[in-house]
């Protein structure tokens, strides 16, 4: 059995450290968006909005992400991508080009894949958003996640969440049976390591088993 205890240490992981450090102040300031503290607001405590800086021109938006409702105050410029990563602190969705060219930011909006970098958070008030964190858990992977592991569909992993979100959406889209059909429908996701053959194999495996 593989010993993976070194990556499962709950006390200190790189991700946990970065998330904690980033969520509190720095990342919020960069993104220009602040979470509303529900608990503080519900208690009616003074300074209920103190969970984030007072952003000039911020407007309210309610995002439903992975089945959970988030009431937020955002600068109108905030993209769905920045909001998911920096405010809601779901960092599985990646920022690559930030111009809709690489697909690393792919999430589902009402079950359809989109580039979250070319969409404003404000455009998604009340709609259902799914990120990689909403697909499966480490103990119960989505079949596409399991297939990417089985077929080694990644090297550095940066594009992987976008690839998987795209691949899961592809399962419900009109797509021919061949590898070429899969490649065509996956062309909006770029992998600089070159894991494409294994990604196609993983997707085809899931389609065969569907």
């Amino acid at each position: 059995m593989r010993d993976d205890s070194h990556v499962r240490r709950p006390d200190l992981t790189r991700r946990a450290f970065l998330s904690t450090a980033g969520a509190s102040a720095a990342a919020v300031a960069i993104a220009g968006c602040a979470p509303v503290s529900h608990s503080a607001a519900e208690r009616g405590a003074p300074g209920a909005a103190a969970a984030g800086p007072n952003i000039e021109g911020a407007v309210p938006v309610t995002l439903r992400i992975n089945g959970k409702e988030h009431r937020l105050q955002v600068d109108p410029r905030t993209t769905l991508l920045d909001c998911v990563r920096e405010v809601v602190v779901l960092t599985g969705t990646k920022k690559g080009c930030d111009h809709g060219q690489c697909g690393a930011c792919t999430v589902h909006v009402n079950g359809r894949r989109v580039n979250s970098c070319l969409s404003l958070a404000l455009m998604h008030d009340g709609v259902e958003i799914t990120t990689i964190e909403g697909l499966g858990t480490p103990d119960a992977l989505h079949p596409m996640q399991a297939a990417f592991v089985a077929f080694d569909g990644y090297q550095c992993g940066y594009c992987t969440s976008g690839q998987i979100m795209s691949a899961v959406a592809l399962l419900k889209e009109p797509c021919g049976p061949d590898d070429a059909d899969v490649k065509e429908l996956m062309s909006g996701n770029t992998c600089r390591c070159g894991a494409y053959p294994n990604i196609v194999a993983a997707i085809q495996q899931v389609r065969r088993n569907a």
């Binding site: 404003l120 490649k183 062309s187």
Partner: protein, 333 residues
């Protein structure tokens, strides 16, 4: 990105009222409609677009595809490109439109991009997209560095001394071949604009790309009834197999009877400053035997007025072969 006021009107009339306050609806607009966002937000991040107000039209009732009383099709402004491409009626009766949309962008972008947004898609000319560079389209009077610079992907038809930027859309090329009509609701009421008159040649005013005026909201596009027995092909040639803009493309809708072409509609993409309908190619086809010789003659006619730049002369022959092959494919399908 410059900040803006985000507005979500209850109806199209309210959207038009707000939009009518912009000083221009062309480059430099201070009020913009927001639909899919795939062009606008991209250009706002580059500071090429700096609107002070964005009007979100995504919740207006403009997302339907429906039959028209005359047997044609009405396509709402916010119908997503993917929904339009996969619509059963479009696949059956307007196949060239379905093919053209699926040849463009990526699956993610097609899920976001809309009919009206694609009609108004902006050029990919690198000088237009880079605010550090001069550009007559972005800043009138500053010059066109593309003419003496990097112009491999730019236009050979419809250019001027001010601008050689290509219209990047695939959908627009099919719309031109299908003789679509663009319906606009404006401050003075609704009007209908044939697709061939909707986009403007750059001339000396490349900052004006369409006939859209302040307050004008594209509400829908209509297609005439399908032509019985017509064959549809969209062929796109590009630097890679997928997810790339056209170097040359051709949309053809032709009818062949008794071995002769009885009707032809031809439009080219990737080579023109606007979606390039070619009446010259159509005239060269009608009445002729549907043969490789006549298809090549049509392609020669289509490109007769082409003007190459320093890096893009190859596009002229490429476009000819593209159109010839598209016609052959259509005639034998």
């Amino acid at each position: 990105m410059h900040t803006f006021e985000f507005i979500r009107p209850d109806d199209a009339a309210a959207a038009v009222r707000v939009a009518a306050q912009t000083k221009t609806a062309q480059q430099g607009a201070d009020v913009r409609f927001l639909a899919g966002g795939t062009t606008l937000l991209d250009l706002m991040k580059l500071n090429v677009e700096t609107p002070a107000r964005l009007i979100d039209i995504n919740r207006l009732p403009l997302a339907q595809v429906e039959a028209t009383p005359d047997g044609g099709l009405k396509i709402g402004a916010t119908v997503r490109n993917s929904d339009l491409a996969h619509h059963p009626t479009v696949r059956r009766d307007y196949a060239v439109l379905s093919q053209s949309i699926l040849a463009g962008a990526s699956a993610q972008l097609r899920n976001m991009a809309t009919t009206a947004g694609n009609l108004l898609q902006r050029t990919r000319c690198m000088y237009f997209r880079d605010t550090a560079m001069p550009c007559n389209k972005r800043e009138p009077g500053t010059g066109c560095p593309a003419i003496t610079g990097s112009n491999r992907t730019l236009a050979v038809l419809g250019t001027s001394e001010s601008c050689i930027a290509t219209n990047p859309s695939d959908m627009n090329v099919a719309m031109a071949a299908l003789e679509a009509t663009v319906h606009v609701q404006g401050a003075k009421g609704p009007r209908a604009v044939p697709i061939g008159e909707f986009h403007l040649l750059p001339g000396r005013t490349p900052q004006r790309e369409t006939v859209v005026e302040p307050g004008d909201l594209v509400t829908h596009v209509t297609l005439p009834p399908p032509i019985a027995g017509s064959k549809h092909v969209y062929l796109k040639l590009r630097d890679r197999a997928s997810y790339e803009f056209a170097l040359a493309s051709a949309a053809v809708v032709i009818t062949v009877a008794g071995g002769r072409v009885t009707r032809a509609r031809v439009a080219l993409g990737g080579v023109g400053t606007k979606p390039w309908r070619s009446p010259e190619a159509e005239a060269a086809l009608v009445g002729q035997v549907a043969s490789a010789t006549h298809f090549r003659n049509a392609a020669e006619a289509a490109m007769a007025g082409a003007k190459p730049q320093s890096e893009n002369a190859f596009k002229i022959e490429l476009a000819k072969r593209c159109l010839t092959h598209a016609l052959q494919t259509a005639a034998t399908s």
